[in-house]
């Protein structure tokens, strides 16, 4: 099998597999790669329910696409926690961070999976995606804060946990500071995020004195950055993230009128006025593979 074929198959698996129940017609056909886009629609701060495919307009590189709405209810969630465990987290912040993470785990269903990545200057993929949520809970209690802060490195490793996985992937990056020691540059992690289907939510308790690259990551993947003023607010923030993620719509389509591969700009809108849409702004397409003979 060629590498390119392998990649195409992985991408296809990423996008198509899992118990996807089409609300309307199933649009994927053999030999064509489908694209799935996670979309959050809000009215003010509240998610909007009850929309149907005709309520949406999706343009891929400016070309209007025919979309389906996929029922996300039974789709398993891959929730990857990427937690800042640098020295500044010690004490109450640590307790609040663990409580918030536990609250998010509480909201997962039996079909869902979770993973735990922590980062100081060192990144540690503590628990790979697993349905053994008690193992994740136990590992949370083993966190010993120390060291500096490598947010981009941590976010990248968390993203890789979602590669080649079935289901919907949610990455929650939580930090109380600014990046001081990453090797990876923000634009490199951004490029990587465009190659994954994960939606990144960032939660930061840092004093908002600088633009955070985490906001760019969240925006690019259709997620959101939440700013909390106290670590006591982390629990509520984590719960809201999961609630929002469950309220998202999944649009699927087979790209028409655009090349399969390369960078695709996405523009998702709802036809009803006054609603806000959050969806990834780009994705990297992979051309359908030609079987190696």
């Amino acid at each position: 099998m060629t590498r390119r074929l392998a990649v195409a198959l992985i991408a296809a698996a990423l996008l198509l597999s899992g118990p996807i129940h089409a609300l309307q017609k199933q649009s994927f056909s053999s030999g064509t790669l489908g694209v799935r886009v996670d979309v959050l629609v809000t009215d003010g701060r509240n998610p909007v329910a009850g929309l149907t495919a005709p309520d949406f307009e999706l343009r891929d590189n400016g070309v209007l696409q025919t979309i389906d709405l996929v029922d996300s209810f039974d789709l398993p969630i891959n929730a990857v926690l990427a937690l800042d465990t640098s020295a500044s987290i010690q004490g109450k912040r640590q307790a609040d961070l663990i409580a918030a993470s536990q609250a998010l785990l509480d909201g997962l269903k039996p079909v869902d999976r979770a993973a735990l990545t922590t980062f100081s200057h060192a990144v540690s993929q503590r628990i790979a995606l697993t349905s053994d949520l008690p193992a994740v809970r136990r590992e949370l209690l083993r966190i010993e804060p120390s060291g500096e802060t490598a947010i981009m490195d941590g976010a990248y490793v968390a993203l890789t946990a979602t590669l080649a996985q079935t289901g919907r992937s949610l990455v929650v990056v939580c930090t109380d500071g600014y990046d001081t020691s990453s090797w990876l540059e923000p634009d490199e992690v951004l490029e990587s995020a465009k190659r994954s289907s994960a939606v990144i939510y960032a939660v930061t308790a840092a004093a908002p004195r600088r633009h955070s690259p985490l906001k760019d990551l969240a925006d690019a993947t259709g997620g959101q950055m939440l700013q909390v003023t106290s670590s006591a607010d982390l629990r509520g923030a984590f719960q809201k993230i999961l609630q929002d993620f469950r309220s998202r719509y999944i649009l699927s389509y087979s790209p028409q009128g655009v090349p399969s591969d390369g960078l695709h700009r996405l523009d998702v809108r709802v036809k009803r006025r006054g609603l806000t849409v959050k969806a990834r702004s780009t994705y990297i397409g992979v051309a359908p593979a030609t079987p190696h003979r």
């Binding site: 060192a122 540690s124 966190i143």
Partner: protein
């Protein structure tokens, strides 16, 4: 004996304060006793050690140093062969002490040992986290203050947060003033260069940027063309441009600093103490670092780490082709250890920027071979593979990073020490300097 003393005397009023030297009447019995204790400390100090001499110096309060100061001026004048007229017994005692030191071990060896004692005391204070006492009242000293009486306030920060202020250590300016007297032409004196290089390395290792900035200003004045001093100054500027320092500036700070530099009137006061921190925006710091690395390489083209660091800056400044060229030259010089690791890591990033993904991957692999557990090299490998849409190859280095968290912190990753500059080798440089005096 080095031909230092005669010309160095001419420097004395500048470095020690003419007023204090001209008023021997201010010398008291207490001054003479303090001076005697100081001479004993210099003579008895074991270089690099934590001993009674270091303890004695560390216990000098601001008031004790104020008492010592006129005696010090007199002592150093006589040590360097200057004729003085004394009238009191206390002053005469100090003159005797100075003449003894001039005879044995000699003016220059005594000055070198004294400078080492005070730099050792400053370093020990950092290691023990004991800061010198400042005067109870009054503003920070200005540039005209005698080195014994200099005191400033410095910010301390950790992991991107300002934690507070501490007193600067008077031992550093005093040691520098002693070094100034060691040689009439410091650039020709290997000890002066070695002392500045080793002590700067210590400051960078410990993140003493507030101390380092004045240290390097003096190094620039006495060693303007010395390759290592240029390298240290370049490293300092480069470190200021790294995220670990840049995150201390707010977006408002950066805007205000840029506005100031462009000659326009700042729209608002600089927030977050950016002015006091002395941190320039990254573009400004990086431009200064590039210029200084180039000067260092002009003085010593074989200074491979300067070339490697220059290449990183060129890459940061969106000139990957130039970076790649410098790194080819650097790799041809066959560096070893961390410098070779950096060269491969940066060559990989430059190749990646030029779209040469396979070449980038090869450099990252070479870096990972040198330091198998290095997180930076593994992340770089993974990211390059992901750019090439090779998911299995992107995941493999991440799986090699798998380790329990404490072990992860113990990974040997030279990237984590990059921000130390010459401070990476501080311990070795200090040992080398101490051996030079023995």
């Amino acid at each position: 004996m080095k031909p230092a003393a005669a010309l160095a005397v001419l420097c004395l009023p500048l470095t020690l304060g003419a007023g204090a030297a001209a008023r021997p009447g201010a010398i008291t019995v207490g001054t003479a006793m303090a001076l005697g204790n100081w001479v004993t400390a210099v003579r008895s100090h074991t270089l690099g050690g934590r001993d009674a001499a270091v303890a004695a110096v560390s216990e000098l309060t601001f008031d004790k140093r104020r008492e010592l100061n006129p005696g010090m001026s007199l002592f150093l004048s006589v040590l360097l062969g200057k004729s003085v007229v004394t009238s009191t017994d206390a002053a005469k005692h100090i003159v005797e002490l100075a003449r003894d030191a001039r005879q044995s071990p000699g003016a220059v060896p005594f000055l070198e040992r004294a400078a080492m004692l005070h730099s050792d005391a400053a370093m020990q204070g950092v290691i023990d986290d004991v800061r010198p006492a400042a005067p109870a009242n009054g503003p920070p000293s200005d540039a005209s203050a005698p080195p014994l009486l200099s005191h400033r306030r410095l910010f301390i920060d950790k992991d991107g947060e300002i934690l507070g202020e501490v007193n600067s250590d008077w031992n550093w300016p005093f040691a520098r003033s002693l070094i100034d007297l060691v040689s009439a032409k410091p650039s020709d004196d290997p000890f002066v260069g070695a002392w500045y290089h080793a002590t700067t390395a210590f400051m960078l290792q410990k993140g003493l940027y507030g101390e380092a900035v004045t240290h390097l200003e003096r190094a620039a004045a006495v060693l303007p063309d010395e390759a290592r001093a240029l390298f240290d100054r370049a490293s300092y500027s480069e470190i200021q441009g790294l995220p670990v320092n840049q995150v201390l500036l707010s977006d408002e700070d950066i805007l205000a600093l840029k506005t100031q530099r462009s000659g326009r009137r700042p729209l608002r006061l600089i927030a977050n103490h950016a002015g006091e921190l002395g941190i320039s925006p990254a573009e400004v710091a990086n431009a200064a670092a590039e210029r200084l690395y180039r000067l260092a390489l002009r003085m010593d083209p074989l200074l491979v780490e300067a070339r490697v660091r220059l290449a990183r800056l060129l890459e940061v400044r969106k000139r990957p082709e130039e970076a790649a060229t410098e790194l080819t030259t650097a790799l041809a010089a066959k560096p070893t250890g961390a410098v070779l690791f950096y060269a491969h890591l940066f060559a990989g990033r430059a190749a990646q920027a030029l779209g040469r993904i396979d070449e980038a991957a090869a450099h990252y692999r070479d870096a990972a071979v040198l330091f198998p557990g290095a997180q930076s090299a593994l992340l770089a490998q993974s990211q390059a593979a992901l750019l090439g849409a090779d998911v299995p190859a992107a995941l493999d280095p991440i799986h090699r990073m798998d380790a329990p968290a404490p072990a992860a912190e113990a990974r040997d990753d030279p990237w984590w020490k990059y921000q130390l500059g010459a401070g990476r080798d501080a311990d070795a440089l200090l040992r080398e300097m101490w051996a030079r005096i023995h």
